[in-house]
Amino acid sequence: MKKRILSALTMVVMMFACSITAYADVYKQDPPDPNPTRYSYTLSLSSNLSFSGHTATCKSVVRGDPNLVTKIELTQCLEEDIGGGWWYRIASWNKTFYNFIAVYTTTKSNVPSGTYHVRTIAKVYSGSNFENIAIYSVTASC
């Protein structure tokens, strides 16, 4: 009886251990979104960051449904990894595109040495309705 209870408990712990490991791998940069909404108007997004010396170049690309999207408001945040899953914003930019595709490139010079990523926040409008989506670039160091 004791052995059965022990085996059952071990199984349950293993199941949760797997789930937690995978879940942590997905949301290590931000707290998890408890209610992720479907992309209603957005079809694809990408974000890139590169360094040339201490000059960062950030690019964000957002593509919406051409039949629905009327406007895209893009916010780019250049953030430094300060450890413990925390990111420190050192610069941010905003631009509005009256189009269903937005390609936004910005640069920042004299960036201190460290590891960075670009967080792109897209507010994609269809008339007066909109959806907010945040994505991250691969990290880069300078």
């Binding site: 199984m11 293993m14 199941m15 949760f16 797997c18 789930s19 995978a22 879940y23 791998d25 997905v26 992720p36 909404t37 479907r38 992309y39 957005t42 079809l43 694809s44 997004l45 990408s46 974000s47 890139n48 960051l49 590169s50 360094f51 040339s52 170049t57 950030c58 690019k59 690309v61 593509r63 449904d65 051409p66 189009n99 595709i101 937005a102 390609v103 936004y104 490139t105 989506i133 994505i135 670039s137 691969v138 880069a140």
Partner: protein
């Protein structure tokens, strides 16, 4: 105590001399001899029991069943989380509840550039398309062409920097192999399609609302910029 007395009284009632003689006849019988076959089997079993691996052999079936159940539980636990990673051809696809994230498989033994050293372009763009937007970093290029209600977006990226988020509601994914041996991963939804491929050095993407076959022809026409 009362129960015992009742039992004894009941036993006395059913007990009689005939029963007593019958029981005696049983006791006087010759002791039972087991067959030679049975004795052989018993000896074999006793010898096997003395072996050091007896316990392991006896529990082999149960161990196998436990391992199979553990594998099923692990697989089910992995599939039940929001993100499931799987390698799709040359790309990793992370599947979330509302989107997928496509990134490139980077072979640690292969040397691929960390920057876009040679820029590529679509050479067979249909007439009427004009460049409307573009953006560049050291490791990626994005160019958008428009013609009335049609658009073509061409992207080139290093393998390390490539990461694309794609809406996965009603999006179909498939692979097309061209005569030149290149494998194209196609993600299509309604009239739009995103086609990505790896030429060994860079990752390319052509996104458009053209016919899928026309879009594939554009991909095949991608060449080094002169």
């Amino acid at each position: 105590m009362q129960c015992n007395e009742k039992f004894l009284r009941a036993l006395e009632e059913v007990y009689d001399e005939q029963f007593d003689e019958y029981m005696s006849s049983i006791e006087n019988r010759q002791p039972h001899e087991f067959s030679a076959q049975h004795e052989k089997k018993m000896e074999k079993l006793i010898k096997l029991r003395e072996k050091p691996y007896y316990r392991f052999v006896c529990t082999a079936g149960r161990r196998a069943a436990c391992i199979i159940i553990a594998v099923i539980i692990f697989a089910a636990a992995a599939m039940s989380v929001k993100a499931v990673r799987k390698a799709v051809f040359r790309f990793f696809t992370s599947i979330f509840s509302n989107h997928i994230v496509v990134s490139a498989c980077c072979d640690p033994d292969a040397e691929t550039p960390g920057k876009v050293l040679e820029e590529y372009c679509i050479t067979d763009l249909p007439e009427g398309f004009e460049l409307t937007q573009s953006g560049r970093t050291d490791d990626s290029v994005t160019i958008v062409y428009n013609r009335s209600d049609k658009y073509v977006m061409f992207e080139q990226c290093t393998k390390q920097a490539f990461r694309m988020y794609i809406d996965n509601e009603y999006t179909k994914s498939e692979e097309c192999c061209a005569a030149n041996g290149v494998k194209y991963s196609v993600y299509s939804k309604d009239a739009s399609s995103t086609i990505i491929w790896d030429n060994g050095t860079y990752i390319f993407g052509v996104t458009s609302n053209l016919d899928k076959n026309d879009a594939l022809e554009l991909c095949k026409s991608t060449k080094l910029k002169k």
